[in-house]
């Protein structure tokens, strides 16, 4: 069982590999354009840095491909523990630009441990949810996995890194859904959040209370639970404005800026405006490689990572965005297909997790560049520059390829 089955490799989903290759090359083309006028060493130039990281990234994915799935399953919890530890480590070092996101271990580049932790957490969650003794129909069974993910998430949130925290939480509900949790329960998890948010607007709160009431009525839980759920939510809703008002103005604005950085007009709003201008001025076919004025005159911020899609939109136009997003959609669908066809529950749930993580990355990053959601510092998979992120992406690809292969034990 520990031997490598060559026959397994034949079953590797080639479409996924092609998609990844296409996106990675696309990213390199864009990064090369940005790097034209860069001076400095390999690690100061986003293009060469990306090329450098591709080598260990591909090697890692191959290494994972030849690792037995049994081993992965076996060490899932140990990896989770490591993940929690490494996201704690930056807090013992010096802050990097005022945050504790980065770990400096004497390499010419810093490591972002939360990137790795998100993969480890995902595998641990998949293992927990694939336990055949699990009674998914009970509401209490879905609380523990949520807490499992909450631990590293809260640490990451403290770093503070809202973007990565969102990505960590993103696969939880889809994986629970895959594991057979009742959609109603998943809905219930979200109810306190809605109650808190709608509480600041009387009409919204009323509508929400009605929706909540109907949902509870349709789902027919036990009477006591139904009453507790409904009034619990109303209570949370009523309480939140009081709690909010007890905060000082300074604290309130801190929270608001954290949730919506556009509150800071010179920062995030400027970035969004420049990003939309770059994308919009690209038109259908773009301005051509290396001809993006917004990009090259540095109007576009963090162009090599968070706003790389804006560079692509400016230089290659709507056509390139269309192709990239369609390829990405097909890539995700391929993973979901493999997940659906998978024979064992662990692989299936883990694949669903990876698909969710990738999709969350793409959606949050893309929606941000076009001003659909507030600015969150999140890169675009395979295209954005970033060492730790590229490694993580290829680790996930390795895992996806591995778990996609069906085998008979």
């Amino acid at each position: 069982m520990n031997n490598i089955h060559l026959s397994e490799l034949k079953d590797v989903p080639v479409k996924i590999i092609w998609a990844v290759a296409f996106l990675t090359i696309m990213g390199l083309v864009v990064l090369k354009s940005i790097s034209q006028h860069h001076v400095g060493g390999v690690f100061q130039n986003p293009f060469t840095k990306q090329l450098f990281f591709l080598i260990p990234a591909v090697l890692l994915s191959i290494l994972i491909l030849i690792t037995p799935r049994y081993t992965i399953h076996k060490y899932a919890y140990a990896l989770y523990a490591i993940g929690v530890l490494i996201v704690l480590m930056p807090f013992f070092g010096n802050p990097h630009a005022g945050t504790y996101r980065w770990l400096n271990i004497g390499l010419p580049f810093a490591i972002q441990p939360s990137e790795f932790a998100k993969v480890f957490t995902l595998i641990a969650l998949a293992r927990y949810l694939s336990d055949y003794n699990l009674q998914m129909k009970k509401f209490s069974t879905i609380i523990l996995p949520i807490l499992l993910v909450m631990l590293p998430t809260i640490i990451v949130l403290k770093q503070p890194d809202l973007g990565t925290a969102i990505i960590m939480m993103a696969p939880v509900l889809p994986m629970l859904y895959w594991a057979g949790a009742r959609p109603f329960y998943l809905f219930l998890i979200l109810t306190p959040l809605f109650s808190m948010l709608t509480a600041f607007h009387s009409l919204a709160f009323t509508v929400w209370a009605i929706v909540l009431g109907i949902s509870i009525f349709v789902a027919r839980p036990k009477r006591l639970m139904a009453i507790a759920l409904f009034f619990g939510n109303i209570f949370i809703g009523l309480l939140s404005p009081i709690l909010w008002n007890s905060l000082s103005k300074y604290q309130q604005s801190r929270v608001l800026t954290f949730i919506n950085p556009e509150k800071d007009p010179l920062g995030a709003a400027y970035q969004i405006i420049q990003s939309k201008t770059a994308i919009g001025s690209g038109g259908l076919f773009g301005k051509g490689w290396g001809e993006g004025t917004q990009t090259h005159l540095k109007f576009l911020p963090v162009q090599e990572s968070d706003f790389i899609l804006s560079v692509m939109g400016e230089e290659f136009g709507f056509i390139s965005i269309l192709i990239v997003l369609l390829v990405f959609g097909l890539f995700i669908i391929q993973i979901l297909k493999r997940s659906f066809l998978s024979k064992d529950r662990f692989s299936s749930i883990a694949l669903m997790g990876f698909a969710s993580v990738f999709m969350a990355h793409v959606f949050v990053n893309t929606a941000m560049t076009v001003g659909l959601i507030p600015v969150k510092g999140l890169p675009f998979p395979f295209i954005s520059a970033g060492g730790s992120f590229l490694l993580t992406c290829f680790i996930m690809i390795g895992l996806i390829l591995k778990l996609s292969v069906n085998y008979s034990e």
Partner: protein, 588 residues
């Protein structure tokens, strides 16, 4: 391990695929909206984002004298500017600048507000920096991010003459000035605009066309080169103007008027060209260029002699006896008047219950028109007043150009006062004045007020039998048509003879105006104008004929005594100089 079966249903698979496609379509829809539907808007935005328009000042045209010598030139001046968008820690930077150029930092910040046009447009902080100041600023460049300097052409006066009231000065266009301009788009804040004098009159010719260049800037506002596809335009200098001024004559006139108050105008009566003119006191022509110090400005403004007033065109004076030729014209046009009939002057004349005196209290004896003019006898004219109607007299005055602008090419002329009976009634009431007023007016006193430039035009008309050109300072093809009284040449010649006698007769009041140059014949008339505010104003008007040329002159010396004693000798000096000036001749 791994024993649990996959329990994902087909329905779950379809739900998740649908969600993925919905999200992808939302994103693509948004890109379609931005890149395809709003393409024009963002495209335009991207261009304005990166292109900065920089304009450069065009040098103004030069002002030359009649022989091509430069009266007003341009010299480069350094202007300190800042790009507001790049200027962090304003106060601190202003302090550094202040310590280097010696201008109060409050003043620097005032300028900053005054010239602010936009976040990415250069805003003037200070001007007229010396080269050493610019070098010191350059040394401090590291602390002065966002601060730049540029060279602009400034007015510079290389000649020995001042001619400040003629040349005028330029002013910087500020917000209120720009607001009131008809052709706003031609001017930017900090531009120069002709404010008075020739600078104002010929602004259209002197102002050049500003140059424009388009620079590509990066997000930090730094210029990274010329923008592709947008043509830059070099500044086009303004046109030069050639004046009728002769630097040497102007210089002499200025020397003569040094320390005096009054006006002197010298010109060519036929063409109306003015060769030299001074309104004294005047001011240094560069008073308004450069960093005018508050105390200099205060000094000029508070000067009781009002050097900023251009007396030539704005000073209103009683003309005194110099207008007796107007009264003579009026009398000669009356068929009942006999110029050879004697009228006795006893030094005074009783009119109604008032006694009117002659300037010579012992009297001139028996006078004809000729002797009345050469002696400047007042009583002779009083005794003929029954032949004069006020409104006819006033229209004779108007036919000589009094009471109206001469259309001189310097803006801001006063028109003076030529009283009519309507005017008198309006001023004093129906019964508040009597015919006695004519006694004053006919000898150039009373309500009558004239400007020296009107007097200059008047003497030109007399010198040319009414064929004088409109007074002007700049050589132009077409000068406005002048007016003149319609008189028989025998009358013109008669008046000329009388004026010749003023200078050449042994009793003539203008004898001291004669430089006794061979071949030069001088004509003239003196005037001693009483004024209610002090000492009499001394007038001399006249012309000299030398070869085929004529040179007319007006001398007015405020509060300095009698025209014959004070003003006529000034004319003599000028005529003597003209006879030596070989460059000056008006052979037609």
């Amino acid at each position: 391990m791994l024993k649990a079966e996959n329990i994902v249903s087909y329905k779950q698979y379809i739900v998740s695929i649908s969600i993925i496609w919905i999200l992808v379509i939302i994103l693509l829809g948004r890109f379609f909206q931005i890149q395809i539907l709003s393409y024009d808007r963002y495209s335009k935005k991207a261009n304005t984002n990166r292109i900065r328009k920089i304009t450069s000042t065009a040098p103004r045209g030069l002002i030359l004298d009649r022989n091509g010598q430069i009266l007003v030139d341009n010299s480069p001046s350094y202007v300190l500017t800042a790009i507001p968008g790049e200027l962090k820690n304003k106060g601190q930077k202003f302090d550094i600048i202040s310590s280097i150029i010696g201008l109060d930092s409050l003043e620097v910040s005032k300028n900053y507000k005054k010239y602010y046009r936009g976040k990415f447009l250069p805003t003037r902080l200070a001007k007229d920096l010396t080269f050493s100041q610019v070098s010191k600023l350059e040394e401090n460049k590291i602390n002065l991010g966002g601060v730049y300097y540029e060279q602009i052409p400034d007015r510079y006066f290389p000649s020995k003459v001042k001619a400040s009231h003629i040349l005028g000065y330029v002013k910087e266009v500020d917000r209120p000035i720009r607001k009131n301009l008809g052709n706003k788009q031609r001017y930017e804040l900090g531009d120069m605009i002709g404010w008075i004098g020739l600078e104002k009159q010929y602004e259209y010719y002197l102002k050049g066309i500003r140059g424009t260049s388009f620079y590509e800037v990066d997000a930090f506002g730094r210029e990274v080169g010329l923008a592709k596809g947008l043509d830059s335009q070099n500044p086009e200098p303004g046109n030069n103007i050639v004046t009728t001024i002769d630097i040497d004559i102007q210089y002499i006139l200025e020397e003569i008027m040094m320390g005096k108050k009054g006006v002197i105008i010298v010109g060519n009566p036929s063409t109306g060209e003015i060769i030299g003119a001074v309104s004294a006191p005047d001011f240094e022509p560069d008073l308004f260029t450069g960093l005018m110090l508050e105390k200099d400005w205060e000094k000029v403004l508070r000067d009781p002699d009002k050097p900023l007033i251009n007396r030539m065109i704005q000073g209103l004076y009683p003309p005194g006896s110099i207008v007796k030729m107007v009264t003579a014209t009026n009398l000669l046009l009356n068929p009942e008047f006999d110029p050879n009939k004697y009228q006795r002057c006893d030094g005074h004349y009783q009119f109604g219950d008032r006694l009117f005196g002659c300037w010579q209290s012992q009297g001139h004896g028996d006078m004809t028109l000729n002797t009345a003019i050469l002696n400047s006898c007042d009583v002779y004219f009083y005794k003929n007043v029954h032949l004069i109607n006020l409104n006819e007299l006033s229209s004779t005055f108007r036919s000589y150009g009094f009471g109206q602008a001469t259309l001189l090419d310097i803006p801001g002329e006063s028109v003076g006062i030529v009283p009519t009976s309507e005017y008198m009634t309006k001023r004093y009431g129906r019964y508040g004045w009597s015919k006695g007023a004519i006694l004053n007016i006919c000898i150039g006193q009373g309500e009558l007020l004239v400007t020296p430039i009107q007097v200059f035009n008047y003497i030109n008309l007399l010198a040319t039998n009414g064929n004088a050109g409109t007074p002007h300072f700049v050589m132009v093809d077409k000068i406005p048509k002048n007016i003149a009284p319609k008189l028989d040449s025998k009358f013109w010649n008669r008046i000329k003879t009388d004026m010749k006698d003023v200078i050449n007769h042994e009793n003539g009041t203008g004898r001291s105006a004669n430089p006794n140059v061979d071949g030069m014949i001088v004509f003239g008339k003196t005037g001693t104008a009483e004024n209610p505010h002090g000492e009499n104003h001394a007038w001399f008007i006249g012309w000299a004929e030398l070869d085929d040329s004529k040179y007319s002159i007006v001398v007015l010396l405020e509060n300095s005594g009698s025209g014959g004693a004070v003003a006529a000798p000034v004319a003599r000096k000028v005529f003597a100089q003209i006879s030596k000036n070989t460059q000056l001749s008006f052979y037609e």
